[in-house]
């Protein structure tokens, strides 16, 4: 299938409406085609802009209170129960089944909700990685010396971290910058391996930055993503280098603790 046919499917893909088999083939194509990958990134960013722009109007709290009061009043006057309680007795085993179904449903909902949140989180970090690469000044502290980069973050982010010894490895520390995710400051470290740049993001493990799994291997818009949690921090390694390179850098970061 040519690029034109794939680009026609990009909207459905990013809307989450493409059948799984086609989505897999499209993902494969995005990994291999820089043009379609760039177009995909533009579409994702456009979606995010519209999503953000969509939240514009906030109701007056007094209006909410009026509606709530009005709902209660109408329900009482019409004799309609708001909670539909007292619908009859359910046998004990059915109540247990109901509870089980509700619990399973809630668990499924929470899992799906969490997965969507995580995808959004990864997508934001990939955007930040791409923005860093495109920037004329990709790092705020330029140094390959970990003893320069680490102290630079003191007072700028609310936590500290260790950087690995890179001597004898193919990785070079380029520098670092302060990054923000869901209004929380964190560190973005840039490493180079051959001609590839890899971003390592560190954020406090809380709220939206908390990942579901202890460790995860993912891809987003053809970028390799590795993530894990350690000592109250969430780590995200993102880049277009080979999966082996990302695994190796992740291992070095983990070993540094």
């Amino acid at each position: 299938m040519g690029c034109e046919a794939w680009t026609e499917k990009l909207d459905a893909y990013f809307d989450g409406e493409l059948p799984a088999s086609e989505a897999r083939s499209l993902q494969q194509h995005l990994r291999e085609c820089a043009t379609c990958s760039a177009l995909g990134l533009a579409k994702v960013q456009a979606k995010l802009v519209v999503k953000s722009a969509g939240q514009r109007f906030v109701p007056d709290p007094a209006f909410r209170a009026r509606i709530e009061k009005s709902m209660t009043g109408r329900a009482r006057s019409s004799g309609l129960s708001l909670s539909l309680k007292g619908r009859g007795w359910l046998p004990v085993f059915e109540i247990i089944t109901v509870a089980a179904v509700v619990l399973i449903g809630a668990a499924l909902f929470l899992t799906l909700h969490r997965e969507r949140g995580e995808q959004q989180l990864i997508s934001e970090l990939v955007d930040q990685h791409v923005a860093t690469l495109a920037s004329a000044n990709p790092v705020d502290v330029v140094s390959s010396d970990r003893h320069t980069v680490k102290p630079w973050f003191e007072g700028k982010i609310p936590f500290t971290f260790n950087l690995p010894e890179l001597q004898g490895t193919p990785f070079v520390l380029v520098g670092g910058r302060v990054s923000y995710l869901s209004q929380s400051p964190g560190a973005e470290l840039i490493f180079r391996v051959r001609q590839h740049q890899i971003s390592v993001f560190l954020f406090q493990e809380r709220g939206p930055t908390r990942m579901r799994e202890n460790e995860a291997v993912q891809t987003a818009l053809s970028f390799q993503v590795r993530s894990w949690r350690h000592n109250g921090l969430s780590y995200f390694v993102i880049g277009d280098a080979s999966p082996q390179d990302l695994d190796k850098l992740s291992e070095l970061m983990k070993a540094a603790g």
């Binding site: 979606k47 309609l80 109901v98």
Partner: protein, 184 residues
């Protein structure tokens, strides 16, 4: 088989225990936001939301438990809007051919417009959204902001899935064009 049947029946009964308030009030802020986008006026948006809640409460007993409550209440809001003076006025200006289940526009390449949209700020996109015809504005908001599936949008707007896709495609193109115009 019997076990599955029991499970389905009980599952449907359990959803009945969800109260109208429990289902409807968490959607309040979003319904208001959507209503304000449609009416472009605070007072009209409040009237629209109030009428929607009143109709939804009245019709709650006929709501098919186990089906999509969000799509149901959004559908009530939209139908109420369409029969309002502002709604009638706004839809009267939309050409009918736009509503047809016509094929989607060809895919848009990485043109300057799409880059423009990608780099535009929130305020400019809000201005562009408010200038779109209502059918385009609502389908974009339901898809991008409400993150509804095509099926939910189809139920909410009472249009076939094919029309959802073609209208979305045209709405995205219209938004890009409007953003370009605003950029001058």
């Amino acid at each position: 088989m019997i076990g599955w049947f029991t499970l389905v029946c009980v599952s449907e009964q359990s959803s009945l225990s969800g109260s109208f308030e429990e289902l409807a009030m968490p959607l309040f802020d979003r319904l208001y936001n959507f209503a304000h986008w449609l009416t472009q006026d605070r007072q009209e948006a409040e009237d629209l939301v109030q009428e929607t809640y009143a109709k939804a409460l009245k019709g709650f007993s006929s709501f098919q438990q186990g089906t999509n409550f969000r799509a149901w209440i959004y559908q009530i809001l939209r139908n109420t809007f369409l029969t309002s003076r502002t709604g009638l006025k706004s839809t009267a200006t939309v050409p009918l051919d736009m509503e047809s289940d016509s094929p989607m526009l060809p895919a848009v390449k990485d043109t300057p417009e799409s880059i423009l949209l990608q780099r535009s700020d929130r305020q400019l996109v809000q201005e562009a959204l408010s200038r779109l015809p209502v059918p385009y504005r609502e389908v974009l908001l339901l898809c991008e902001f409400e993150e509804m599936s095509y099926q939910e949008i189809s139920a909410t707007l009472a249009i076939p899935m094919g029309t959802v896709m073609s209208r979305l495609s045209r709405a995205r193109q219209a938004l890009r064009d409007t953003v370009r115009e605003l950029h001058g």
